[in-house]
């Protein structure tokens, strides 16, 4: 590959600011979120690695949310819903379970470790389980290391940028390069 003067963006895992897993959690309003509240009120200590997003139901979790979270830099995604049979909306959690079965397989086919996406049933009374699950998942992700998709996308696109730079340089060498040549390939920047 032509990797002149472009060091790989995300090669070394433990960089100076110590990395710690980032977990995006989608918790249902009626059970898991309430359980997380309970964990707080009960002063249970759990890893501060989780960013909780409250949804009305685990059935509201669109698999697009999961890939979006991962693509934007989450190291793992945790989904929490009511126990089977306890769904406030009768079968929202069953819908999530069905989606989760295939989503997990699809993500594995795309090279993600199965530990990165997790579905748990946690009732409003199970503050302790919130703690255990988050701590356990944090430890697992810590062992796996960063997923770092934004950095990965950037490093994949080095090959395009290298060529754009080359063409740019070749043009600059010619007299009076047209100004529009200043818009080289800029992958993904377009989509942010």
């Amino acid at each position: 590959m032509s990797d002149s003067a472009s060091p790989p963006a995300s090669a070394a895992p433990p960089a100076p600011p110590p990395w710690s897993p980032r977990i995006v959690a989608f918790f249902c309003n009626w059970c898991t979120y309430t359980a997380a509240d309970l964990a707080g009120v009960s002063r249970l200590k759990y890893a501060a690695n989780v960013r909780v997003i409250r949804l009305m139901c685990s059935g509201r979790v669109d698999p697009q949310f999961v890939v979006e979270a991962l693509a934007r830099g989450a190291d793992g995604v945790l989904i929490g819903g009511c126990h089977p049979g306890d769904c406030h909306y009768v079968e929202g959690n069953t819908k999530m379970l069905r989606r989760f079965q295939l989503l997990r397989r699809l993500l594995q086919d795309l090279g993600l470790a199965p530990e990165r996406v997790r579905l748990e049933w946690i009732s409003a009374a199970e503050g302790e389980k919130v703690k255990t699950v988050i701590n356990e998942m944090t430890a697992q992700l810590r062992a796996l290391g960063p997923l770092g998709l934004p950095e990965k996308f950037a490093s994949w696109d080095q090959e395009v940028i290298a060529l754009a730079r080359q063409m740019h340089a070749a043009e600059a060498a010619e007299p009076a390069a047209p100004p529009s040549a200043a818009t080289p390939a800029h992958p993904e920047i377009l989509h942010v």
Binding site: M1, S2, G59, D62, P63, Q64, V66, V67, E68, L70, A71, P84, E91, T94, K95, L97, R98, R99, Q101, L102, L103, R105, L106, D109, L110, G111, L112, L147, L149, K152, F153, S155, W156, D157, E159, V160, L163, A164, M167, P178, S180, A181, T183, P184, A185, H186, P187, E188, L190, H191
Partner: protein, 322 residues
């Protein structure tokens, strides 16, 4: 008065998109009458140099089909971008990465090894592979380099419009030409097809039930399909609900389910995740083992749900590849 200049170019593609331009049939005469074609490698003899010497933005519109997966294709995309007022990603591959985008599931080395060594139809005892530079009678010809990643056109250069489809239909192509020639253009970045799901124009729509409960999934080769009933009621994976309309529902009319070549509508970010969501939520089973039994007949979710859109999907590629 000089006529507007138009260029057609192909990158990683099968040639089907070029065929659609020809499929305009008599209508192509109307187009050819109004424009000057300055580049069309599949049909006419121009050299790249002919394009390179044109002033910037001299070409009114370039219709580029095919995914971008080699250094040469990148160079041409950058060159044509600069020479064109409007750059149009023509067809699924330029739009979303297309079928070639499925190579994003494998490392480049594996792609090369299969194609030059282990594929059953290959005879290559010396395991010869193309070199980027080689010596030949004192000359040093260069060959393009295969990239690690297959890309859609807009992952390489700025794109003005998208014409979706594998291939785009002649009527969408003609409508695009009419819009270009009359200057009556939608906002930049538009996909030049309706922004509704395929179900909207599917003749089977009437039989689409409000409540589907899949007891099993059937693949099209496994049973005789009812030519009139919604595929979802027949337990067949149809990408229609997550796919843009505009094709005239040709596949479903031909008794084959939609495979998603028009890509998602503007309200969907990730076509594969979206159809997975819709299909799975409607499985009848409630217990994990039963659910997984139903899902067994979707053996390859990536190839099924991202058949045309892996490169432009949210994850783009197998994430453990370098």
């Amino acid at each position: 008065m000089s006529k507007p200049k138009v260029a057609f170019y192909w990158c990683a593609s099968c040639g089907g998109c070029e065929e659609t331009v020809v499929d305009l049939a008599e209508d192509i005469l109307g187009v050819v009458e109004k424009v000057d074609i300055v580049l069309w490698p599949v049909a006419m003899d121009f050299k790249y140099q002919d394009v390179a010497v044109l002033p910037d933005q001299a070409i009114t519109a370039t219709l580029l089909n095919g995914a971008i997966r080699s250094s040469e294709q990148e160079e041409m995309a950058v060159l044509l971008r600069r020479k064109s007022r409007y750059l149009i990603a023509y067809g699924s591959c330029a739009h979303l990465g297309g079928i070639p985008g499925l190579a994003n599931q494998f490392p480049r080395e594996e792609v090369l090894r299969f194609n030059y060594e282990t594929s059953p139809s290959v005879v290559n005892e010396h395991r010869t592979r193309p070199l980027l530079v080689f010596e030949d009678h004192g000359r040093r010809p260069h060959l393009p380099e295969l990239r690690h990643v297959v890309r859609s056109l807009d992952q390489v250069v700025d794109v003005d419009y998208y014409l979706p489809g594998c291939p785009p239909t002649p009527n969408l192509t003609k409508a695009a030409f009419d819009a270009l020639l009359s200057g009556n253009l939608p906002p930049k970045g538009s996909v030049l097809a309706p922004d509704t799901a395929l179900c909207d124009e599917c003749p089977r729509k009437a039989s689409k039930p409000a409540d589907v409960a899949f007891a099993e999934f059937t693949r099209p080769h496994q049973k005789l399909l009812d030519p009139e009933k919604c595929f979802l009621t027949q337990g067949v994976v149809c990408m229609g609900p997550a796919t843009r309309s505009g094709c005239g529902a040709q596949c479903t009319e031909g008794n084959m389910p939609c495979t998603g070549c028009f890509g998602p509508t503007s309200r969907v970010r990730d076509q594969g995740a979206k159809i997975l969501s819709s299909l799975c939520a409607n499985i009848g089973a409630k217990e994990e083992p039963d659910i997984n039994r139903v899902l067994e007949n979707i053996p390859d979710p990536v190839g099924t749900f991202y058949r045309y859109g892996l490169a432009r999907s949210r994850l783009r590629r197998r994430v453990d590849l370098t």
